[in-house]
């Protein structure tokens, strides 16, 4: 029983991390219908700048902050120079952002060097609590909390805030939103920057839990994020959360019981979903898949 609880907590923590990466992707796809294959690149840039500034300043929070700023800046540049010419054309978006992914992960090696970088956990989040036989690793708890917080924040902002309304309206009818006196270009830049910052934020949180980071992480976790978005239903934030938790739990349990299957299980989940519910678990009707 204790084992199952331990594994579940690990799984949920992993799932929350994946959700954090996927949330930015979902946001950008769901609201702007942009497929950003460079999302993993933003994630890995967040991880590196988080670790770099943490070791530079000694403050974990400054590291996180710098990662978010990095995400915002990269998001801004990406939207203006890469995405803007290809709005509305999925195939070109896929191609161009994959090119960007390549550039981003190679640039990591130029800026931070090609070697694996150790990523420590800040002292006050080190260690664990012991409740009976259940070990609760503090940092994992921290990630679960942050993930839940981000989910609530995104969900309620989109549902109830004015900016959320404008963004949703902009997706339905871009022209009309402009004719109502709203600068939709600015809004889209903003959404893209927030999505990118979420990816970078996820990177900065991920680094300490992995212990070490390298530039190929972007591709690996980019794939995870995409799988989660497919399983959850393209563009649905609750869908992403459920799918991410599912993937996290499935991964943790198979890694323990059938280690050889741990990579394949994510794929299997996706295949099953594609087979029986190709539109994903929580499809948003507005941005459906067909």
């Amino acid at each position: 029983m204790e084992l199952i609880i331990n594994l579940s907590i690990n799984g949920i923590a992993t799932g929350m991390l994946i959700f954090l990466i996927a949330s930015g992707l979902t946001l950008i796809f769901g609201l702007m219908s942009v497929l950003n294959f460079a999302h993993g690149g933003l994630f890995v840039w967040g991880a590196y700048s988080g670790v770099f500034f943490f070791s530079l300043t000694g403050s974990f929070w400054i590291g996180i902050l710098c990662a978010i700023v990095t995400g915002l800046i990269l998001g801004l540049l990406t939207e203006v120079f890469i995405i803007r010419p290809v709005y509305g054309n999925h195939i070109r978006q896929i191609l161009i952002t994959l090119g960007l992914m390549l550039v981003l992960s190679e640039l990591i090696k130029v800026v931070f060097g090609p070697n694996v970088l150790p990523a420590p956990v800040p002292d006050y989040l080190k260690g664990s609590w012991l409740i009976g036989d259940i070990t609760i690793i503090k940092y994992r708890m921290f990630i679960i909390l942050v993930g839940a917080l981000i989910f609530c924040l995104m969900f309620f902002t989109l549902r109830y805030s004015k900016i959320g309304l404008i963004v949703r309206a902009g997706v339905m009818n871009k022209e009309m939103v402009q004719a109502l006196g709203i600068n939709i270009k600015k809004i889209f830049i903003f959404v893209f920057m927030v999505g990118s910052a979420l990816a970078a934020f996820a990177g900065a949180l991920f680094a300490p839990s992995a212990g070490a980071i390298y530039s190929e992480l972007g591709m690996e976790f980019g794939i995870y994020a995409f799988i989660v978005v497919i399983i959850g239903g393209m563009g649905s934030i609750p869908g992403s959360l459920v799918a991410a938790l599912l993937v996290g739990l499935a991964n943790t349990f198979t890694a323990y019981y059938v280690p050889i299957l741990s990579m394949v299980v994510t794929m299997l989940l996706m295949l099953i979903v594609l087979l029986f519910r190709p539109q994903g678990l929580f499809n948003v009707s507005g941005v459906s898949n067909k």
Partner: protein, 342 residues
């Protein structure tokens, strides 16, 4: 006579092929031959990619898995069996069958959905193959890979083995080029273009989309596997790098830079990318930035997608088409020329 009935373009292609066959007599240095073989192999690989991207509008991000499956199947079969002509054929057959089967599966699952599903599924599948290749050490040798022997050629030919492989790959490229060209110019190929342009309309003309998409992805997967077989044979070694996303990216860049939907574009793209790989890596001794030449490529790729979406061949064809338009007085346009010129 055969020659008379041939179109001008066909003659030109054959002539270039013939010229390439004689190239080793001018420069037979090992590295040059090797480079040319790489160009041929990747040209085949990129052409198979163009069938999907350029002619049907399907984006695959896992094309490397066919390449890798081809390379591994050939290598494993030849490693386990005696290096004979039979094992070579068997390896090729296995490679093509597995390649075809995977693309069939991926196609059935996602091709009825929008383009990005196929892209993501293939990306993930390719990731899975890489993982399996790394973990299943008893068969694949893990990250280190393994070398294997290829069948010995009779007598005199064995002395010029590189030359034979060179000719073999060149011949394969030429045959596959004409084969794929015929597919794109067949009634089926025209339906594919219709699907690329407007898939819903194709349905309301009475064509089912799925069989076409699946069929072309199977053909493409099989050809890609073949290029993997040739690759393995040409270097007599295989490791997990054949499954790398980099391989897919190479095909993508070759196709885009050369010209999507042209088949000749990917060949030219393959030549450009392979030559640049070679020379830019050499430059790494001069400045470390050249070790990171992928940045440069990525940037060129991005610029090409934005400003140069027709690639080299596509742009030239457009120019020619415009000139012809002026002659003809009415506005003939860009790609319509494709079916005549190319």
């Amino acid at each position: 006579m055969m020659l008379k009935r041939m179109k001008l373009s066909t003659k030109v292609y054959l002539l270039i092929g013939l010229a390439l066959a004689f190239l080793p007599f001018i420069n037979d240095s090992r590295w040059f031959m090797f480079l040319m073989i790489q160009i041929f192999v990747f040209a085949i690989f990129a052409m198979s990619y163009d069938l999907l991207l350029g002619y049907t509008g399907i984006v695959s991000f896992g094309h490397a898995m066919f390449f890798g499956v081809g390379a591994y199947s050939a290598a494993i079969v030849m490693d386990r069996m005696e290096a004979s002509f039979v094992s070579f054929l068997l390896g090729t057959l296995v490679a093509v069958l597995i390649g075809g089967f995977i693309s069939f599966l991926a196609g059935m699952l996602t091709l009825k959905l929008k383009s990005h599903y196929y892209a993501m599924l293939t990306l993930a599948l390719a990731g899975m193959f890489l993982y399996i290749a790394e973990r299943w050490r008893s068969v694949t040798g893990g990250n280190d890979g393994f070398t294997f022997r290829i069948p010995e050629l009779p007598g005199f030919l064995e002395e010029h083995r590189n030359f034979v492989i060179y000719l073999f790959c060149l011949l394969a490229m030429i045959l596959l080029f004409f084969g794929m060209k015929r597919i794109t110019e067949s009634p089926l190929g025209r339906v594919l273009v219709g699907i690329r342009e407007n898939d819903q309309r194709v349905e309301s003309l009475g064509y089912r989309i799925m069989p076409y998409k699946v069929l072309i992805s199977v053909i493409s997967g099989m050809v890609a596997s073949l290029s993997g077989v040739l690759y393995a044979i040409s270097i007599r070694f295989v490791d997990t790098s054949v499954f790398d996303i980099q391989v897919t990216l190479d095909a993508l860049m070759m196709t885009i830079i050369g010209g999507v939907g042209t088949l000749t574009g990917p060949i030219i793209g393959s030549a450009i990318i392979n030559f640049s790989h070679h020379y830019l890596s050499d430059l790494a001794n001069i400045h470390w930035i050249f070790q990171r030449w992928m940045i440069l490529f990525g940037a060129i790729f991005i610029l090409a997608v934005i400003f140069f979406p027709n690639g080299i061949v596509g742009t030239i064809q457009n120019k020619l088409a415009k000139r012809k338009t002026k002659k003809k007085q009415y506005d003939t346009t860009e790609k319509s020329l494709r079916k005549e010129g190319a």
